[in-house]
């Protein structure tokens, strides 16, 4: 794990001056390079970073060049220093970003990772070049784990960003039902001895779904609709409401398709939830709609 740092990346009142791509930027001390880039209007791709989680800096897609450093540095975790000279668009940076994206796309199913797909185009990644006649590139393919009616795990889509582990553990839920197991390319997110979720410590808060950037963990409702080729995000509406179960006041976003709730999220910047919910807010919405779901009737 990394050091406990302020996930928001901002801190004190003392300002630090640096240059990013030749442009002078002044930000509070303790700010990350990533945040400073944002201030300067520079878009930086991220994958394992999230504003409601501790930076683990493992995906390396946000790397930038800092003068005086032998290797590239992860902008999401490195704090700015006075006089730092940062370059986010050098050939070296573009190469590393492109390769990281290519590597991921060559071994992981990114069909549902919409944010990532944009970056793949932007950095002209060509994941197909890893396949050779008679020697296909190894992938992380495995069958989806469908073990209950609330959510599924499809590790063919897992980029091992550690977000779900953090949300299950120290950063939100403190349940520790899942962790990284194995090593190297064979590393996987797993329960102990790969037992099913109902047999594990999982409390079904669904916070792992909330942070997953690739659809490797998703609502069973979404999974079923996708299987039936009936997932239509463009037609979905999002309704903001407040959870009615207790007095904490968690904001809910109800994603609705065909007048049925298909998933529930909470805004990551919400002061109460920081994007995280419990089983009731996340999954306890069946009572607001009739049992006979039109979508279910329509499914073949």
């Amino acid at each position: 794990m990394t050091l406990p740092t302020n996930p928001s990346g901002a801190a004190s009142e003392v300002n630090v001056n640096l240059t990013v791509n030749g442009q002078s930027v002044s930000v509070p001390a303790g700010t990350t390079i990533h945040r400073a880039c944002e201030r300067a209007g520079i878009d930086t791709p991220t994958l394992c970073w999230a504003e409601n989680l501790t930076p683990v800096n493992v995906c390396r897609v946000c790397v930038v060049e800092v003068e005086g450093n032998r290797t590239l540095v992860p902008s999401c975790a490195r704090a700015v220093e006075e006089g730092m000279v940062v370059n986010t668009d050098s050939e070296r940076v573009r190469h590393s970003r492109r390769m990281v994206l290519e590597f991921l796309a060559s071994g992981v199913d990114l069909d549902q990772a919409e944010g990532l797909r944009r970056w793949l185009d932007e950095y002209e990644a060509d994941p197909g070049r890893y396949d050779q006649d008679g020697l296909p590139a190894r992938t992380v393919y495995e069958e989806p784990k469908v073990q209950d009616n609330l959510y599924i795990r499809d590790y063919s889509r897992c980029v091992l960003c550690y977000k779900c582990v953090e949300a299950c553990g120290d950063d939100a839920q403190h349940t520790y039902a899942i962790a990284v197991s194995g090593r190297g390319f064979d590393a996987r997110i797993s329960t102990e001895f790969d037992v099913t979720l109902p047999d594990s410590a999982c409390v079904y808060c669904g916070n792992c779904i909330g942070v997953c950037p690739t659809g490797a963990i998703q609502f069973k409702t979404e999974f079923d609709l996708r299987q039936a080729s009936d997932w239509r995000p463009d037609e979905q509406t999002v309704t903001q409401t407040v959870c009615s179960y207790c007095g904490v006041g968690c904001n809910l976003e109800l994603h609705v398709q065909d007048e049925r709730i298909v998933k529930v999220t909470s805004p990551a910047d919400h002061s109460v939830t920081h994007g995280h919910l419990c089983i009731k807010g996340r999954f306890g919405w069946q009572y607001v709609q009739p049992v006979d779901a039109p979508t279910r009737q329509r499914r073949p």
């Binding site: 008679g134 020697l135 403190h174 039902a177 962790a179 990284v180 197991s181 090593r183 102990e192 410590a201």
Partner: protein
């Protein structure tokens, strides 16, 4: 931390006894009457570092780690089972599936020196005799290739070759410094070590005081011998300057770089020197906690060091008042469990702390945020032995051999096609050709084709580099590295493509998997080498890929493993060792671009 959810599987009596023997009365279990969540959480944190020894106990008791056994450890140490499982599955020496037959496993090394010395044949021979064989990365016995290590069940692990007395190739050479006690001092006897001048350096260091010791180490120009060559004095001064928190000194005995076995020879044959030097490190940096992190495949070295610690403690050379100095210092030994990455210092910390051996981003550096996030100095045994020389001879005396920028001597691990493989000590500046001659020259009838310097993380060089003085600066200037002191010779009949494939496979197997460039890059690099092996030539597309892969691993990986994972393979490609003819990049001079 919430209450743990632990399945119903229970440990049997053997597993319980094995774990209890390690943990004793140290348990993090929440007591019935305890209401203080804070105290419970703190106790869990304080006990987590016992996870690795407890997993070793389970593995040894039954030959695997069962769900019941893991549950028992999790309950005792209050570790979530998913996390403990994640730790157990990180290490090669632990298995979490029940073996068909429970019994000893013989690990046979498949890395370069053993690969070209009959490893495959040895595996077949053992398997035919009904032995359970496991292909292992470098076992640190390249001087007796093909190497073997027996992982036992319900008994101590062993290396059968250890029953032979060790004979130093340079035995009797009066110019030896670091190796001079080997074969002279009884490694089991403190009295014998002291009779040979042992512990004079500690007495001198105490008389000098901590600051003068750090000054002497800095003035000597000593740099780390693990591969990174960081100035030891700078490191020690940084830790010494930290105040108000517990501090640590760690002997990094996780020597796992393929081709490296010098520290094993030192630890097995001169264990008191390692203990004495680590004690001096603790004194100089005002650290009270000494740790030895030693790879699991070194049973004899582990035993010798453990016994040396017991004897030193009994003699008052460790403990509450080290040699009457008023300084408190003691040493704890931790065994690794088969993970090359744990030789990376921050991964080593994570491993000791009871987490997966995943490296951390630097900065912050270990001198301020090391073991348990406390100031820590990490040195390997060879570096530590040099400290004894610095104290005994003074900085000027130390500098009498070697060069201005590379003072002192260097231990080199000669293996592969040399007549007398083994550990050799030479002054910095000795040429590569002289080093090979010292080991009796090239063995067999075939001419020298290439030399691997610095191990799998190093580079190949061609015979035109035999004039290279073995110094840090010359190696750097010629685009190569001394690394951990590997000098592995390959002659013309060796299948270099197979060697390159294995080096690529080594990194694929040893990547921790944390960062994308290394986790995927090492796999793609290996696939590229396999393609070369199968088709006899690299396609232009794959050659370009190979360069692209090398660059991102070097630029964007978290730690040194990823940074150097393409180094040796890349040099073999550039030098034309893989049947491609020389590529570009100054091969005429044998220099790597």
């Amino acid at each position: 931390m919430a209450d743990l959810s632990i399945s119903e599987a229970n440990a049997d009596a053997i597993e319980q006894a094995a774990v209890d023997a390690v943990l004793g009365d140290q348990t993090a279990e929440i007591r019935e009457t305890e209401r203080l969540v804070r105290a419970g959480t703190q106790r869990r944190r304080d006990h987590r570092h016992l996870l690795l020894p407890a997993l070793h106990a389970l593995q040894n008791a039954k030959g695997w780690i069962s769900p019941g056994g893991l549950n028992y450890v999790c309950r005792q140490l209050q570790v979530p089972p998913a996390e403990a499982y994640g730790v157990a599955t990180f290490y090669d020496l632990f298995r979490v599936d029940e073996p068909d037959t429970i019994g000893d496993v013989t690990h046979v090394c498949v890395d370069a020196a053993c690969q070209i010395s009959g490893s495959a044949e040895r595996q077949r021979e053992l398997a035919a005799r009904g032995v359970t064989v496991h292909r292992s990365p470098c076992l640190g016995q390249c001087d007796r290739a093909p190497a073997e290590f027996v992982q036992a069940v319900a008994g101590p692990d062993r290396v059968d070759a250890d029953s032979q007395p060790y004979v130093l190739p340079q035995h009797g050479d009066s110019s030896l410094r670091l190796l001079r006690r080997i074969g002279v001092v009884d490694p089991n006897s403190l009295a014998s070590y002291q009779a040979a001048g042992g512990y004079e350096a500690l007495a001198a260091a105490i008389a000098m005081g901590p600051t003068a010791v750090c000054d002497a180490v800095a003035a000597s120009g000593l740099s780390g011998r693990g591969g990174a060559a960081f100035p030891t004095g700078v490191k020690w001064r940084a830790v010494a300057a930290e105040q108000g928190r517990p501090k640590h000194v760690v002997a990094n005995c996780d020597e796992s770089e393929p081709g490296t076995f010098k520290d094993r020879v030192v630890m097995e044959n001169d264990p008191f020197a390692v203990i004495e030097a680590l004690t001096i490190a603790g004194f100089a940096t005002a650290a009270e906690n000494g740790w030895i992190y030693i790879r699991g495949e070194y049973p004899l070295a582990t035993r010798r060091l453990s016994e040396a610690i017991v004897q030193a403690r009994a003699a008052g050379l460790l403990g509450e008042n080290v040699a009457g100095s008023g300084h408190r210092f003691d040493i704890e030994i931790r065994r690794g469990a088969g993970a090359y990455i744990c030789g990376e210092e921050t991964a080593l910390f994570a491993s000791i702390e009871g987490f997966r051996g995943e490296p951390r981003s630097k900065p912050p550096f270990p001198t301020t945020h090391g073991l348990f996030q406390e100031p820590t100095a990490v040195n390997n045994p060879e570096t530590l032995l040099n400290v004894l020389e610095v104290i005994n001879r003074g900085a000027d005396g130390y500098r009498e051999v070697g060069t201005e920028n590379s003072p002192g001597t260097k231990l080199l691990c000669l293996s592969g096609r040399v007549a007398r493989p083994g550990v050799y000590e030479v002054p910095f500046g000795t040429t590569l050709g002289e080093v090979l001659a010292l080991a009796g020259g090239i063995s067999g009838d075939d001419p020298l084709r290439a030399v691997l310097l610095g191990g799998a993380a190093g580079n190949f060089v061609l015979p035109d580099q035999l004039d290279m003085p073995m110094t840090l600066e010359d190696a750097r200037q010629r685009g190569t590295t001394l690394g951990s002191g590997v000098v592995m010779a390959f002659t013309a009949e060796v299948d270099m493509v197979a060697v390159a494939v294995r080096i690529a496979e080594f990194f694929r197997g040893e990547s921790c998997g944390q960062c994308v460039p290394c986790r995927v890059g090492t796999v793609r690099q290996h696939e590229t080498m396999v393609q070369l092996q199968q088709s006899g030539a690299l396609t232009e597309q794959r050659r370009e890929l190979s360069d692209d892969i090398a660059r991102v691993m070097a630029d964007a990986s978290i730690c040194g493993l990823g940074h150097t994972a393409a180094s040796a393979v890349g040099s073999a490609l550039r030098l034309g060792l893989l049947g491609e003819g020389p590529g570009d990049g100054g091969v005429d001079q044998g220099r790597l671009p």
